[in-house]
């Protein structure tokens, strides 16, 4: 318990966030770049594939490092409140970077034996908008937490030490 426990917790969350924000999106986009359904080649016409991967990697790195900082910080501390607020804002930017990189409007070309039969375009912009709205509410909640941690700092610290007289020094 203590310092090492916090750091281990941070590392666990770091790996979770690296997996969910970088590894899974990378494999997903690589997988759907060229896929075949019922013998029909569906090629992801995404000239900005590299660009999507770039943004996924860039924001993935920022979010993962913030997750490490956030989860290795003491519970209800001001630094935890600050970093989790930054993390949620970065999350929004990460989601929006899909749109920014063109990933919210994906075009699939349908090719049968070298004959191009046309394309399917999937527009998930409205879905992203909805998601952003939910993120806005999350930001409001995190902001509330942040101010709560600042205003009730003493009470939180007292409770953390279970306040027998003089408190317990776990260090």
């Amino acid at each position: 318990m203590g310092r090492s426990f916090n750091i281990v917790k941070g590392l666990i969350y770091l790996s979770i966030y690296i997996t969910t924000t970088m590894v899974i999106p990378y494999f997903t986009f690589t997988f759907i770049k060229e896929m075949q359904i019922l013998g029909v080649d569906i090629i992801l016409e995404q000239p900005d594939y590299e660009r999507i991967i770039y943004w996924v990697s860039a924001f993935g790195l920022l979010i993962s490092s913030c997750a490490f900082f956030n989860y290795s910080s003491p519970k209800q501390s001001i630094r935890k409140g600050t970093i989790s607020l930054i993390q949620i804002i970065l999350n929004c930017l990460y989601i929006w970077s899909y749109k920014f990189s063109g990933a919210t409007e994906v075009r699939f070309e349908i090719v049968i034996e070298l004959a191009n039969l046309g394309f399917i375009a999937v527009n998930v912009q409205n879905m992203v908008m909805l998601y952003m709205g939910i993120y806005f509410l999350t930001i409001v909640l995190k902001g509330y937490d942040f101010f709560d941690f600042i205003i009730n700092r003493k009470t939180i610290r007292e409770k953390r030490y279970k306040t027998q007289l003089g408190g317990i020094d776990k260090a």
Binding site: I7, S57, E158, G166, G167
Partner: protein, 263 residues
């Protein structure tokens, strides 16, 4: 299995769609606002430089590790330290209280003994005085000797009584000083408790109140002890005077027994 029951999938999809449709008019405007500021902010992010993000990743990771190892959040807050120090002070004050209390008790016993001695010496002096006053005009030599011996004894007793009274006076002074020290400590404690009460919140306030009450109690006790010490001092002075008086009386009686044929 789930793909074999398209109806179930359809139902789930319908439910999700209904929820999304319901939320869309409420949440979507928020999303639009979010998008507007994000579009602006994203302009400042490097568009083709992954090294920049890797550097920031390393910086945040290192800072996070250093900060959370150095300040893991387990250090006792200063106001809790204050409470601990205050507790120690209360304990010390309690020890002092006990010490002063013991001294006061001993002094009380001594005063009682001195009172007994006073009574005894007083009685002796009275008897001797009576004997000397009743003495025949011409006292026999033997009787005169006895009278002298008694007078000397009385003188010794009076001296002893005087010494005791002096001792008592010193003890009373010491007790008074201790009581004053105790009073100072109690006052200090009261101030500290007040400070703690202002600093701490919720749980600690109760402790601070407890300390404050204890300090008040100490203060009252100190006042009581101080008054007791004063009383003892006065009594000791009284004893001293009485002892002096008795000594003089004894000397007088000795003189009288030395010259039985005077008067």
């Amino acid at each position: 299995m789930i793909f074999q029951t398209p109806e179930l999938v359809q139902t789930i999809a319908d439910i999700v769609a209904a929820i999304l449709n319901f939320l869309f008019p409420i949440v979507s405007p928020m999303g639009v606002w979010m998008v507007s500021w994000m579009d602006y902010v994203l302009q400042f992010f490097p568009q083709n430089n992954l090294t920049f993000y890797i550097t920031i990743f390393v910086i945040i990771m290192t800072t996070g590790a250093i900060v959370n190892i150095a300040w893991a959040g387990f250090k006792k807050p200063s106001f809790l330290d204050k409470a601990k120090k205050l507790k120690e002070k209360v304990e010390k004050a309690e020890e002092l209280e006990e010490k002063v209390d013991k001294k006061a008790k001993k002094l009380k016993e001594k005063v009682e003994k001195a009172e007994e001695l006073e009574e005894k010496v007083d009685k002796k002096a009275k008897k001797l005085k009576e004997k000397v006053e009743k003495k025949p005009k011409k006292l026999k030599e033997k009787k005169a000797k006895k009278l002298k011996e008694d007078a000397e004894e009385l003188k010794e007793d009076a001296e002893e009584f005087k010494e005791k009274a002096e001792e008592l006076k010193e003890d009373a002074k010491e007790l008074k000083e201790d009581a004053e020290e105790f009073e100072e400590k109690a006052e200090e404690l009261k101030e500290d408790a007040k400070e703690l009460k202002e600093d701490a919140k919720e749980l600690e306030v109760e402790k601070a109140k407890e300390f404050e009450e204890k300090a008040k109690e100490f203060e009252e006790k100190a006042e009581e002890l101080k008054e007791g010490a004063k009383e003892f001092e006065e009594k000791a002075e009284e004893f001293e005077e009485k002892a002096e008086e008795l000594k003089e009386e004894a000397e007088e009686l000795e003189e009288k027994s030395d010259n039985p044929n005077t008067d």
